[in-house]
């Protein structure tokens, strides 16, 4: 009798395990849960995407978190998340060390240079001027270099307060890349990165996050700050001016949908197959100089076939339907050019 009971118990246990296994497998093929982490700039877009995607793909399950581009890259590399979001592509060294890591553009972002200058509403600036300000060579608003770029503007004789990000940031990456590309001295000393060794400028301050940049620029008259375009509404509300920047063709342009698209179009055809390219200081008469691809950093070897399928399906949706302006305009992003969508799709196919 006892033996019988034991056997029965064993059989039941086996049956339970088997059923659980089947249920598990079915769940995987339909809705392998995905985890996304990284860029705080992409995070609002993911939060628009995921509900819409889940609505059209029943059972899809994507968790999004905002940690920072560095964490997005690092955790995707370690296989802790399926999708790492980053404002910057993988460096050459990283790409060579980890050949199975892809940098896939999802959308196009840009950055404004904002200023808090009492009495001045429009201002023209260039890479060398900004490099001068952020390295402490240009200290006053009425510096000859700024005056030469702004004829007819009454510039105050007041110390400039440059504001930079203290946390690691894709905005710092693209801003310093603009300075590196347009100013030789900056390019050979400070260079670019998500955090750089900011030259010591008396009075210069650091702020935490894009919101912190807006607040700091608002609280400090005569300051200048670089702020991601997703925060342009907050910056305008804070009364900050938006500078026109000198592009590669020698024209001063504001960040508008037209100038950002112009920059994207001029880089689209030169984008390589691995899509790791800077859009900063792009050629083109109307191209805005601080524009960048927002990336998904993906490991081609996902934990299972089902997970890989789920990642591919989502990313394909993101670069096509997800690139419609109904999503992007809410965060002031721009869609990928058609040629780049094809490159992204080709890369997405590699995920297995």
């Amino acid at each position: 009798m006892k033996m019988m009971n034991l056997l029965q118990a064993g059989a039941i246990a086996l049956a339970v395990t088997a059923t659980a296994g089947v249920v598990q497998a079915q769940a995987d093929s339909a809705t392998a849960p995905l985890v996304e982490t990284g860029s705080s700039l992409l995070y609002p877009l993911f939060n628009l995407w995921v509900p819409a995607y889940t609505a059209s793909h029943p059972g899809a399950d994507i968790t999004t978190t905002s940690t920072g581009s560095g964490a997005g890259i690092a955790q995707s590399l370690k296989g802790l998340v399926n999708i790492g979001a980053s404002d910057a592509y993988l460096s050459d060294t990283m790409a060579h060390m980890h050949k199975n890591m892809l940098s896939i553009p999802l959308a196009i972002s840009s950055q404004a240079i904002n200023f808090n200058l009492p009495g001045v509403t429009s201002l023209k600036l260039s890479g060398p001027i900004l490099a001068g300000i952020y390295s402490g060579k240009i200290t006053h608003w009425n510096d000859p270099a700024i005056a030469a770029a702004n004829p007819g503007v009454a510039l105050p004789n007041h110390v400039i307060i440059p504001v930079h990000r203290t946390d690691g940031s894709g905005d710092t990456f693209i801003f310093t890349q603009y300075l590196s590309a347009s100013d030789a001295a900056w390019g050979s000393t400070v260079k670019f990165g998500t955090s750089v060794s900011w030259p010591a400028v008396t009075g210069g301050i650091g702020a935490n996050g894009n919101q912190g940049m807006v607040t700091a620029a608002q609280a400090n008259p005569y300051s200048i700050a670089y702020i991601g375009v997703s925060f342009s509404a907050q910056a305008a509300q804070a009364g900050l001016g938006q500078a026109e920047l000198l592009n590669k063709a020698g024209n001063y342009v504001s960040p508008t949908p037209e100038t950002i698209s112009a920059a994207a179009a001029s880089v689209a055809n030169s984008t390589p197959a691995d899509e790791r390219i800077s859009m900063i200081f792009a050629p083109g008469a109307q191209a805005y100089p601080i524009v960048n691809y927002e990336y998904a950093i993906i490991n081609t070897h996902q934990s299972s076939k089902d997970v890989a399928t789920a990642v591919r399906t989502f990313l394909n949706w993101a670069v096509t339907e997800g690139n419609s302006m109904s999503f992007l305009k809410q965060v002031h992003f721009m869609p990928l050019p058609a040629a780049v969508v094809e490159l992204s799709k080709a890369q997405i196919k590699k995920i297995k």
Binding site: T67, G68, S69, G70, A71, I73, A74, A88, S91, D92, T93, M94, M97, V159, I161, H164, T166, D167, G168, S169, K191, F192, G193, T194, S195, V196, S197, W198, P199, A200, V201, T202, G203, G204, I205, G206, A207, N208, G212, T215, A216, A219, N220, P221, Y222, S223
Partner: protein, 307 residues
């Protein structure tokens, strides 16, 4: 041998805390090993901090792979940490002592619990709330009325925010001790004709000196390690030593929080190791400060009293 389950359980539990501490220190030492070798003593004496060019090929220095141009010097952050914590203590101690004496001596005992609860309530406010208050109220105020260059971010803002956070810690420890001073002490002092001020200063405060120093040490520990609130109002000083109350600073803890994300993209991993080394330095500073305070509270003061 007799097995004592209760004693064994309690022993095991009590060993967990020091074990966790040892594990953290051991991890920091092992993890930052390469960085310690690479940096040497320059780490503590240099002003310049540079993660290097993380997008260029790494270089090999003394057999260790590092990003090109990397240079790790943390003197600025040590200075920022010590200065902000010291000023915070200078602001907080008189406030806290005054508040505690007021609550213990002046206030009728019926409303004392309500007021002392309010003080303790400040101690549990999350630090990010203090940071927000700092950004919204304190920084603009300092910038408009105090700062010569118009910027409110910096050492003073960080110190005031820290002071507010640690005042209730000192006040509530001191208040508990004051309430335990025997009635007889006060009454005999009054009987000798002492004024209320003299009673507090000569008959009550000497009894609680050790507790007060204990509270200050606890508060100092919090001030040295506070991250978020400082990150929000300190102005993120980098590569420049603070020269005045209005200079931007970085503290060790806030700097680690700010740099970690970028450090994670370093293919050589040296940046993260260097951050671990900073954490180790913070640990040593906290330990040293606490040890000094313990010495002050036990030995030195008593010697002076006898003399």
């Amino acid at each position: 041998m007799k097995i004592r389950p209760f004693r064994l359980t309690v022993l095991g539990l009590s060993l967990l805390i020091p074990a966790a501490l040892c594990a953290v220190v051991l991890f920091l030492v092992v993890y930052s090993g390469q960085a310690i070798v690479f940096n040497g003593l320059r780490f503590l004496t240099q002003v310049n901090w540079n993660l290097g060019d993380l997008y260029d090929d790494p270089v090999v220095v003394h057999g260790i792979q590092v990003p090109s141009g990397a240079n790790y010097g943390i003197l600025v952050f040590i200075a920022g940490t010590l200065a902000s914590a010291a000023i915070a203590i200078i602001i907080a101690v008189p406030l806290a002592v005054g508040a505690a004496i007021f609550l213990a001596e002046i206030i009728p005992s019926k409303i004392r619990p309500a007021l002392s609860m309010l003080v303790e309530l400040i101690a549990v406010v999350p630090s990010v709330v203090f940071g927000l208050w700092g950004i919204a109220v304190l920084v603009p105020f300092i910038g408009r009325y105090l700062s010569p260059n118009g910027s409110g971010y910096g050492l003073l803002a960080a110190s005031i925010v820290l002071a507010l956070m640690i005042t209730p810690i000192i006040a509530s420890t001191l208040l508990d001790a004051l309430l335990q001073v025997p009635r007889e002490n006060r009454e005999s002092a009054f009987a000798l004709g002492a004024t209320h001020f003299e009673v507090v200063m000569k008959a009550v405060m000497p009894m609680v000196r050790t507790t007060m120093i204990g509270g200050i040490v606890l508060a100092l520990g919090r001030a040295l390690g506070e991250t978020m609130a400082v990150l929000m109002v300190s102005g993120g000083g980098l590569n420049i030593m603070p020269t005045s109350l209005f200079s931007p600073i970085s503290t060790i803890a806030s700097f680690i929080a700010g740099q970690l994300d970028s450090a994670e993209t370093d293919p050589t991993n040296m940046s993260v190791r260097a951050l671990a080394e900073i954490a180790l330095v913070l640990f040593v500073i906290t330990l040293a400060v606490n040890a000094c305070a313990k010495l002050l509270s036990s030995g030195v003061l008593r010697v002076r009293k006898r003399a």
